[in-house]
């Protein structure tokens, strides 16, 4: 049990501002990272991140998590626009309650869509916010996949198709929503969000 968590203030509202993250378990020290750990970080710059150095304690799980994440969100070969994938990530994070994850992906969604007001509305009002039909369809799908038991059904697929999405785009929304049910649980449980000091 680490008793070394820095004094900090956890944010108590959703925001597009930069938020810090402090680990509750001891990350591997930067100086102790082996070649295997560094390879598992995928981006060497992540050696600065306590989150990734903590996950590096299981390097195989970290590496495959990261490569899955990058392809779902960054692969530009057709499918759902990046803004929509990021919206799904932000909506899942809003529903699960991950203020840190929501801040990052709300920023990305706003950057790629230029729809800052709608993104802020999602953060302020939650997943019931009216964001226009296409984004409402994306958020509804993300919510239905996140709920336990899941409520995702043919009506969600039909609504995404009606919004102009093909199989690849819909599978991007499914995978993006599913991935944030992975990411939220790690970010929420292994450390605490902190207002930047």
């Amino acid at each position: 049990m680490p008793d070394t968590v820095q004094a900090h203030t956890a944010p108590n509202v959703f925001t597009r501002d930069q938020v810090d993250w402090l680990p509750w378990l001891e990350p591997i020290a930067e100086a102790d990272l082996t070649e295997r750990h560094i390879a598992a970080l995928v981006d060497a710059a992540r050696a600065k991140s306590p989150y990734f150095r903590l996950l590096a304690r299981d390097p195989d799980a970290l590496e495959h998590r990261t490569r899955t994440d990058k392809d779902i969100f960054y692969n530009t070969d057709a499918g759902a626009p990046r803004a929509d994938r990021e919206l799904a990530a932000a909506a899942v994070s809003r529903l699960n309650g991950c203020i840190y994850c929501a801040s990052v992906h709300a920023r990305f969604s706003a950057t790629y869509s230029k729809r800052e007001a709608d993104v802020d509305k999602l953060l302020a009002e939650g997943v019931g916010a009216d964001l226009g039909e296409r984004w409402n369809a994306v958020v509804a799908a993300a919510v239905a996949l996140t709920a336990i038991p899941m409520t995702f059904g043919p009506e969600h697929v039909q609504r995404l198709r009606a919004a102009g999405m093909d199989d690849l785009a819909i599978s991007d929304i499914i995978q993006g929503s599913a991935f944030f049910n992975w990411a939220n649980r790690l970010m929420l449980s292994l450390g605490d969000a902190a207002i930047k000091g």
Binding site: M1, A10, N12, V13, F14, L25, E26, L54, R57, D58, D60, A61, L62, E63, H64, R65, R67, T68, K70, D71, I72, N75, D77, A78, G79, N96, G97, C98, I99, G126, L145, T146, A147, I148, P149, M150, F152, G153, P154, H156, V157, Q158, D167, L168, I170, S171, D172, I174, Q175, S177, A178, F179, N181, W182, R185, L186, L188, S189, L190, D192
Partner: protein, 199 residues
């Protein structure tokens, strides 16, 4: 139980090569490859380290059971039977039945979001089921139950029962990845099954 050239998500969804969904998955090749590699790294690692294969499948069968994920249930139940045996399989099934709940729930840091707070589902195992699981898995299931249903109730104190039950820091990271990865895999399978069935 899984041949080297098979892909578990494709198998569970029923995706054939050349089908529309097979084509969609082929356009995200790294996501497909590394979702499968994540499964193998977390469930069937060559070096299990601090978490045995039986423990991994016990946690997985529990998490899948809590999700009522029919698409993935049979696979992990069979895996648990193979790696953990029938007595553990029965204990896990009973643990699922005793602790089913709905999610996501939990409380936000006190403030404007407190109006959205919902009570955390209770985790309580009967004495015989807890005894059949043993201390390590009982602590792991309590942690998994929180991660599945109310992850926003996270707190540093939640690691104490795991540490007291013998979970090392490395093992806690693996356990956290295992539960969280399953939250992903279960949803990909469920989502793609609906997509495949909805022309």
């Amino acid at each position: 139980m899984t041949a080297p050239d098979t892909d578990l998500i494709d198998t569970l969804v029923g995706i054939a090569p050349g089908s529309p969904l097979g084509a969609a998955r082929a356009r995200r090749p790294a996501a497909r490859t590394h979702a499968e590699a994540s499964y193998r790294a977390l469930l069937l690692p060559a070096e299990p380290g601090d978490v045995s294969i039986a423990e991994r499948f016990a946690v997985a069968a529990y998490v899948v059971g809590l999700h009522r994920a029919e698409g993935t249930c049979a696979h992990y139940t069979a895996g648990l039977l193979e790696h953990g045996g029938p007595a553990l399989g029965k204990a896990v099934a009973l643990a699922v039945a005793e602790t089913l709940a709905e999610g996501p729930k939990g409380s936000f840091p006190p403030g404007p979001l407190s109006v959205e707070d919902t009570p955390a589902p209770v985790f309580a195992l009967s004495a015989p089921v807890a005894a059949a699981l043993g201390k390590r898995l009982e602590a792991a299931f309590a942690h998994a139950h929180f991660l599945v249903f109310h992850p926003r109730d996270a707190a540093a104190e939640r690691f104490r029962p795991l540490i007291e039950a013998g979970w090392t820091t490395d093992a806690i990271v693996t356990l956290s990845q295992l539960v969280s990865f399953l939250a992903f895999q279960i949803r990909v399978v469920a989502g793609l099954r609906v997509l495949a069935a909805t022309p």
